[in-house]
């Protein structure tokens, strides 16, 4: 009992820490992707906004979808959602719980990307450099440039090497201004996300704890049931295959005996297991014929009742019992700790 509990605890924490580990790895991957990405602002009036906002918003969307794809439980959710009702009612709160947990974990990497992007400042500098308030920060009144010209000059702010508007507004002043705004946005975003996460986590016990326990239990149950069913089917398939092949060899052996019209050699009483394992096939020609038949004419998927497993069935391997009393190789199900 103790050992059972210890092993369960290990697998349970393992599965959880596995899921959290994937989450953490994706968050690290997103920071690594950002630092490896070579940001290259186009420095042209209308392209800047598209490029900057694109880099800010498209990769998070990709990371969000990736978060779902990498989560094993998505197929379980889809299966449970689409199955016909049958004799077992469907509980929408369980589906909601499963979806929420997955979505929460998938949101972490995109949030990290957006925060890192905003705190770094290059994207916002690129996207909004044409909106810098030149009147307050520079000398708008002194220049005689048209509006379009001013826009073109401002668009070059992120590209220091080609910037030619030092009289209009100093490059460092504009960059510092934009970066300050970007970092303020970044910190506010992080604060908002953290506050939301905190509220979600702390308000739940105050309002719907019983419903939560129920949903969590049944989502766990669905996962375990699916795994156990797969295991049972695998066991069944193994036994099926074993018996099928045994019947095939017996069939071959009987055919050969009938064809050659000679009495089967009785194995000496003390030959033991080895003679039994040969199943009446004792020479090269017969073996080759057996192999050829296996390829050309596989037996039907239909076991003859009298040949179902008896005590000394096959190949010396004992039959594995149905469910051993020892704890099985069991992975505990998905748990949400958010």
């Amino acid at each position: 009992m103790d050992k059972f509990r210890m092993i369960f605890q290990f697998f349970q924490s393992n599965q959880e820490s596995f899921m959290n580990g994937i989450c953490g790895i994706m968050a690290l991957a997103s920071t690594q992707m950002y630092s490896a990405f070579d940001f290259n602002c186009p420095c042209l009036p209308h392209y800047n906004l598209a490029y900057g906002l694109g880099i800010l918003l498209v990769p998070p969307f990709i990371l969000f979808l990736l978060g779902f794809v990498l989560n094993n439980n998505i197929s379980m959710l889809a299966e449970e959602w689409r199955r016909p009702q049958g004799q077992r009612g469907k509980d929408p709160s369980v589906l909601r719980y499963m979806f929420c947990s997955m979505a929460q974990r998938a949101m972490i990497a995109p949030a990290v990307w957006v925060s890192v992007t905003l705190l770094d400042g290059k994207c916002i500098t690129c996207a909004f450099c044409t909106s810098v308030p030149v009147e307050t920060l520079g000398n708008a009144s002194h220049s005689h440039l048209s509006q379009g010209e001013i826009q073109r000059v401002l668009a070059r702010i992120p590209c220091k090497e080609i910037y030619n508007g030092q009289q209009l507004i100093a490059n460092e002043v504009a960059v510092r201004y934009l970066r300050c705004i970007s970092q303020a946005l970044g910190w506010c975003f992080v604060l908002l996300m953290t506050t939301l996460a905190f509220l979600v986590r702390s308000l739940r016990p105050c309002f719907s704890q019983a419903a939560f326990l129920k949903s969590r239990y049944w989502s766990h149950y669905i996962d375990i049931e699916r795994k156990l069913f797969d295991e049972t089917c695998a066991e069944h398939a193994r036994s099926f295959a074993k018996v099928c092949i045994q019947q095939f060899f017996e069939g071959m052996s009987t055919d050969l005996v009938a064809a050659r019209c000679h009495l089967p050699r009785k194995a000496p009483a003390d030959a033991g297991d080895a003679a039994e394992k040969l199943l009446g096939i004792t020479d090269q020609g017969t073996m080759n014929m057996a192999l050829k038949n296996w390829h050309r004419c596989k037996p039907p998927l239909h076991l003859h009742p009298p040949a179902l497993p008896t005590g000394n069935g096959w190949a010396g391997e004992g039959q594995s019992p149905l469910y051993s009393s020892a704890p099985r190789r069991e992975t505990a199900a998905y748990y949400s700790w958010v």
């Binding site: 059972f4 509990r5 210890m6 369960f8 605890q9 349970q12 199955r83 016909p84 049958g86 004799q87 077992r88 705190l119 770094d120 400042g121 920060l137 100093a170 460092e172 002043v173 510092r176 201004y177 970066r179 300050c180 970092q183 303020a184 910190w187 506010c188 604060l191 953290t194 905190f198 986590r201 702390s202 016990p205 105050c206 704890q209 239990y217 766990h220 149950y221 375990i224 049931e225 156990l228 049972t232 089917c233 066991e235 069944h236 036994s239 099926f240 018996v243 998927l301 239909h302 076991l303 009742p305 009298p306 179902l308 497993p309 008896t310 005590g311 039959q319 019992p321 469910y323 069991e330």
Partner: protein, 301 residues
Amino acid sequence: MDRFRMIFQYFQSNSESVMNGICGLLALASVKMYTSFDFSCPCLPQYNVAYGLGIMFIPPVILFLCGLILNRQSLVMLEEWRRPPGRRKKDQAVIRYMCSSIMQRAMVAPVVWIIVTLLDGKCLICAFSGSVDPEKFVGFANASTVQVQQLLAKVPCKDDELMRNNTSRKAVSRYLRCWSQALGWSILLILIIAAFLARWLRPCFNQATLLQARHWSNYIDIEQKIFEETCCEHSRLFAHKCILHFFESMRQEIKLHSFSLPREGEGAEGEEDLLRGITDQDQVNKLLKMWYYEKPPLDVS
């Protein structure tokens, strides 16, 4: 019995050391975040104060909330606080103990951030460069008010063209950094003395109540873990039974509908029959189809 006790001790020490570990990791993360954050003072009169003080106070709030979120015990405490009394009375001392231990652990990372910020000095220089008295510094003494404000606001930016070789800028910068570091060290000293006193003087007051509160808060934590484990076990056994029933009912149905000869040899029934009467392709397909289209009811009575 001994093994049981060993496991319990393991859980108990494990959750505390896990919480302390998380606390330490968050503190390290806050230092790392500060060093990797690219501090860039806007050097504009109204924006400096907002930026400097924002960088000093918003990340600590974030770190505090993270400390609460990542601590498993905070959930346990909330559940204990909000549960209906039912047949078990609620002990306010336990809840207070849990709350205070959670808060103490969550406060470590924000305090580390604030102290690192103050000892580094950039935030305070950025925030308060516009508030120094210009008369004290030669370079700023004789300029008009508006100009002085503009110049002082640019002090944190070493590379600004106006400030590049300005010695008064360095003087202001050193002055503010000195104040910032003094503040940082003072806060650190006060906090350490407070922690020392709290730990040292605690046994003088209410030791018995403290021991009780600590015991019961540990108990609540362990009880929660064991409940979850038991639910895990239970759902596994439930699933096992449910699937067995399902296979059994399929076998019954097949017996009813097919005319195959009953299996000879009662011996086959005596031992475990892995095939459970499902012995050909159609039967297997039917079983799998039934599993999808009509899952068995959740009733294993």
